[in-house]
Symmetry: C2
Subunit: 435 residues, 2 copies
C-alpha cells in the first residue's frame, strides 16, 4: 500500500501502547503486585500464550516470598516500581489494590502514555473519571473489567452490548463474602459461625467491615452507575447499611413472606433523581437474586428498551478475576476501544419508594402494636401485613410489619417516632423489599 | 499536532466507515428491512439521538405499508436497494434475514468498504467466516451482536470479556419459542395448545419447524462455538432433535427425577473432539436453565479458568434486539474493534458421554422390561432408575429408564436392538440429562 499522509494522529492509534501493538510487536506487560489474582494472570499468560501479549516485568514488594519458578526466565522480577514505570513496558497491570500507592503508579503510567489494566474498584470508583481523562489526554487506555464482579463480563457486556439502551435500574449482588454469609444464614447458620467459616476459607478478611458494612459493594455500584446510568457519583454519598443487623429470625420471617435476604447494591432513576443504596434487602424467592448463592455475584440491568438483562458467575477468586484482566489485555492488543458515552456528575439520593419489612424485637406488653401502627398511620404508611410467629419468649419477642411502598424518608420519620418507645430490645430493623 | 507520516494505513482506521467517523461526521446508517426490529432500531435512534449515529436511509420492498411519520423527513425511504448500496452510507444495517437476498446486500456493502451490522444468525452461521474476511480485506467491519440471544450482550461479553479464558462448554437456551412452549408444558399445558398460543402472540411462525425442529438454535450455537471455542463448524453437521416428541408424561416423569425439560443447544470439547447438539434435554430443577421461563434466552459458558458465567434476558423481540443493533452501531462509531482470536475449521461430533432419560410407551405384556434391560446390559450401559408411575392404562403404558453416563452412540446401538421389539406404540424417546 502506498504511503499516505494524515494530518492528525487519530486518537484511536495514538499513545505508546496502541502505536507499538500496531507494529506487530506484542504488548509488554508489567504486573504490579503478585498476590492471588496477579499470579493467576501470570499463569494464564504462561499457559495460554495469548497472541500479542508478553509478560516482561513483575513488581512486588516481597519478591523473595512471591517469586515462582514457572514464569519464564525472560521476565524481570523487581521490587523497584520506579524502574518498571521508567521501562519500555506498554501496559501496567495494577493488582495491588487500594488508593495508595496503587493510584500513584497508575497515574504515572498513564501520564507516560502507557495503558493500565486494573482490578482496583476503589481507585476506579473514586478517581476513575479523572484517570480516564488522563489516559485520553496522553493516548493510553485505562481498562478495569475486573473491578466489578470479577470473572463475569459485566463491564464489557454493558459498555459494548447495552450502550444502545437507556439503563434505568441496577440491582447487584456485588460482594461474594456477604452473599456467602447470607445464603448460609438462609440455610440456618448463625452470622458469627458463617463469618468464621468464610475467614477460614480466605474469602473474608480478619476485619470484615469493608465487605459486611457494604463499602466494597458501594464502590462497585458507583462504577456501574457511571457506565450504565451515565452519572458520576461520589461513592461516599451512597449510604451503606451493614448485613450484621440481620439475624436468623429475619430469614424465618422472610421465608414466610415468600422471600429471602441478600445484600443488594441498588441504583435507580426514581422520583426524578438518582437514588442508590447498598444493604440487606428482602428478595422474592422466585427472583434471580434469590437464586444467587455462595460467593456468586449477579447483576441485573433494567433497560428502557431491552428490559432485564442478568449476568451471573464467579465474582471473585484468582482465576475468574484473572480472566477479566487478560481479556482487557487482549482487547488492548486487538485495538478494541471503549464505547465512551458521556457521563455527568450527579448527587445521590437515598430516597426509594418501595415496600419495607420492619422487624421489631420487644419486651412484650399491651399496646405495642397499637403504638407502632399509630406511628405508621401518622405518616400515611399503609400496612401490608403484621406477622408474629408463635414460639418466641415474651421478654424477647420478634414480630414483623410489612408496609406498602412508601418513601424511605417517610418510613424513617415513622421509625423516629417509634424510637421514643421503651419496649425495643434492639433498634427496629427496616429492610427494603425488592419486587 | 504536527503532520506525521505512516507508511501503511493501520487496519483499525482503514475503511470508509472508520475513516469517516474519525472526521467527526456521524456514521450514515441505512436500514435494510423495516419490520419489528428495524422499526425499533429507528425508534431508538430517533428518541435517544445517540451521538455519532445518523439514520439516512430506509430500504423496504413494501414501502407504502411500512413508512412511518415519526422518522425525520431527512431520511430517504426507498425500494431500490442498489441505490442505497451505491450511496455514501457508512453502515448497512441488514435486518431482512435469510441468506438471499440479504447475503448479497451484505457482501456488496462489505465489498465497497462499508461496515455491516446484522441480526441475521443464518447468514453469520453459514457465511460469517468468509464475510469477516471480506470485511477485513476491504477495511469495513461486520458486527452481529443481535444474531444470538437478541438483547442479551452474549457476543460482546464473550468477545471482550471472556477472551482471556479457554471456553470448554456452551449450554444455551437460544430459542425463545421453544422455551415458551416447554415452560408452559411444564405447567401442564399440551404442546398443540401452547404452540397455537405462541402463534397467536406472534412469537411462533405458521410453520414452526425452524424453531421447534432446532434449526434456529443450531445456527446460533454454531456462531457461539466459533467465538467461544474458536472452532469453525458447519451448522449442518449439528444434528438437531425436535421438541415435538416431548409430551406431558415426560414432564411428569422429569419432575419425579428432580428435573424439567428445556431445549438446550450444547457445544463442548469432550472425548477429545468438538461435540454439539440441539434438542430437548432434562435439566436439574436447581440449575439456571430450569429457571429460564417464557421466551427468555440464557447462555452458560464454562471456562477453564473462570468457571461458569451465565447471561440471561430477552432473547428476542423488537426492542431488545434493537438494543443489540444500536450497541453495535455505537461500538463502530467509537472505534471499538473485535477481539479476533483465531479460529480453525473443525468437524462436529454428536458424541457426548452423559446420563440419559429414555421414555417408553408400550402395550404392556410380560417381559418388556427384561428385554429392554437386556439390550442395555449388552452394551454395558448401567441403569440408574426404572420408574413406572401408577394410573396409566395397560394398553398405552409409559415408563422411564434412566441410565448412567454412556456415549450417545452406545445408547443408540441399544435402542436399535430394542426397536426390533413389537411392543412400542411410539419410538422410545431418549433425552440427554444435563448435570
Amino acid at each position: 500500500m502506498s504511503e499516505v499522509k494524515v494530518s492528525v494522529v487519530p486518537q484511536e492509534v495514538s499513545g505508546q501502547a496502541a502505536q507499538e501493538s500496531r507494529n506487530g510487536r506484542p504488548l509488554r506487560i508489567a504486573l504490579f503486585g503478585f498476590g492471588t489474582v496477579a499470579s493467576s494472570v501470570a499463569r494464564i499468560l504462561v499457559e495460554q500464550k495469548p497472541q500479542g501479549l508478553e509478560l516482561t516485568h513483575v513488581y512486588s514488594r516481597s519478591l523473595a516470598r512471591r517469586r515462582v519458578d514457572w514464569v519464564p526466565s525472560s521476565v524481570t522480577w523487581t521490587d523497584d516500581a520506579d524502574a518498571v514505570l521508567a521501562s519500555d513496558v506498554d501496559v501496567v497491570v495494577e493488582l495491588a489494590g487500594g488508593l495508595d500507592p496503587a493510584g500513584g503508579w497508575v497515574r504515572r503510567a498513564l501520564g507516560a502514555g502507557k495503558s493500565v489494566v486494573t482490578a482496583n474498584k476503589k481507585l476506579i470508583a473514586y478517581q476513575g473519571v479523572e484517570l480516564e481523562r488522563l489516559a485520553g489526554a496522553k493516548g493510553g487506555h485505562l481498562k478495569y473489567g475486573a473491578a466489578v464482579a470479577g470473572g463475569i463480563p459485566v463491564i464489557p457486556g454493558l459498555e459494548q452490548g447495552l450502550a444502545g439502551d437507556r439503563i434505568e435500574r441496577i440491582e447487584g449482588i456485588l460482594n461474594g463474602t456477604c452473599n456467602f454469609i447470607l445464603s448460609k444464614m438462609e440455610e440456618g447458620a448463625e452470622y458469627a459461625t458463617v463469618l468464621a467459616a468464610a475467614q477460614a476459607k480466605g474469602f473474608a478478611e480478619a476485619d470484615p467491615t469493608e465487605d459486611v458494612g457494604g463499602f466494597d459493594a458501594r464502590a462497585k455500584l458507583a462504577i456501574l452507575m457511571r457506565l450504565a446510568m451515565r452519572v458520576e457519583v461520589d461513592p461516599e454519598e451512597i449510604v451503606p447499611r451493614p448485613i450484621t443487623t440481620v439475624s436468623a429470625v429475619d430469614f424465618s420471617y422472610a421465608r414466610d413472606l415468600g422471600c429471602t435476604i441478600r445484600q443488594v447494591a441498588r441504583g435507580e432513576w426514581t422520583l426524578g433523581q438518582v437514588a442508590a443504596t447498598v444493604g440487606p434487602m428482602l428478595v422474592d424467592l422466585h427472583s434471580p437474586l434469590a437464586f444467587s448463592r455462595g460467593t456468586e455475584n449477579m447483576v441485573i440491568f433494567t433497560g428502557h428498551y431491552g428490559g432485564d438483562v442478568v449476568f451471573s458467575g464467579h465474582g471473585a477468586g484468582g482465576h475468574p478475576t484473572a480472566v477479566a484482566v487478560v481479556s482487557d489485555l487482549l482487547a488492548l492488543a486487538h485495538g478494541s476501544r471503549r464505547v465512551e458515552i458521556p457521563s455527568a456528575p450527579a448527587r445521590v439520593s437515598g430516597e426509594f419508594e418501595v415496600p419495607h419489612y420492619i422487624r421489631f424485637l420487644v419486651k412484650d406488653r399491651p399496646g405495642i402494636v397499637a403504638a407502632i401502627t399509630a406511628a405508621l398511620a401518622e405518616e400515611k404508611i399503609n400496612i401490608r401485613a403484621i406477622v408474629q410467629k408463635p414460639g418466641y419468649p415474651h421478654d424477647a419477642l420478634p414480630f414483623v410489619v410489612t408496609v406498602e411502598p412508601c418513601k424511605s424518608s417517610t418510613l424513617q420519620r415513622a421509625l423516629a417516632t417509634m424510637r421514643t418507645m421503651d419496649c425495643f430490645l434492639v433498634e427496629p430493623l427496616d429492610l427494603q423489599m425488592l419486587e
